[in-house]
Symmetry: C2
Subunit: 119 residues, 2 copies
């Protein structure tokens, strides 16, 4: 991929800088893997945006895709080490969101404490 | 602002989820404040995107704007407490970027260690 600069923030945002990618990483960290599961999340992603984002996430190495059904063809998605490595980023975003938007949900301790060094 | 859900990740991305906002937060944390300074960053943001993003960042409470010149009118921008509070998020993004994109710059210790609890 051609990056805007060699700044790790700019390079990371070339992959992550949209409203959906990190929401899908959240879902994957929480055990979701199938198209229908992502569609059920409260943010109500549309099917075309979901298809687009999962394709880009696979291309950039954040997830892998495998077929689990033949007719009709259905795929499931799994985080790579690179995708799982975003867990500390999500935790800091949660802390920031909880601090400045008091109405937001407090993530369960299981999300904020585990997985941190797993990837 | 009307949010997609009460998930702190989704709410945060409603403000931060694009390729530029956190790059500008980086510049502001590093002392930049003026339009011309943001334009000089290596990512080469365009003037219309810069105007749009700074306006949105002001509207969402990440920065404040003040006039520093009358003819022609020029403004400078300063992080709010909410904006400065993103420093830990940026540090985690840097760690992730440095880990998975070895060609990226390693931020100076002064960026990774200071400011953490300032906001």
């Amino acid at each position: 991929m051609d990056h805007r600069s060699q700044c790790p923030i700019a390079v990371s945002l070339d992959l992550l800088g949209d409203r959906w990618t990190l929401v899908l990483i959240r879902d994957l960290l929480n055990g979701k893997s199938k198209f229908s599961e992502f569609l059920q999340s409260p943010e109500r992603i549309s099917t075309n945006i979901l298809t687009d984002r999962l394709g880009k996430m696979e291309a950039s190495g954040l997830v892998t895709r495998s077929r689990y059904q033949e007719r009709p063809r259905r795929y499931q998605f799994e985080l790579t080490e690179m995708g799982r490595g975003l867990h500390p980023v999500l935790c800091e975003i949660c802390r920031w969101g909880n601090r400045f938007f008091p109405d937001t949900w407090t993530p369960p301790d299981s999300f904020m404490q585990t997985q941190n060094e797993e990837a």
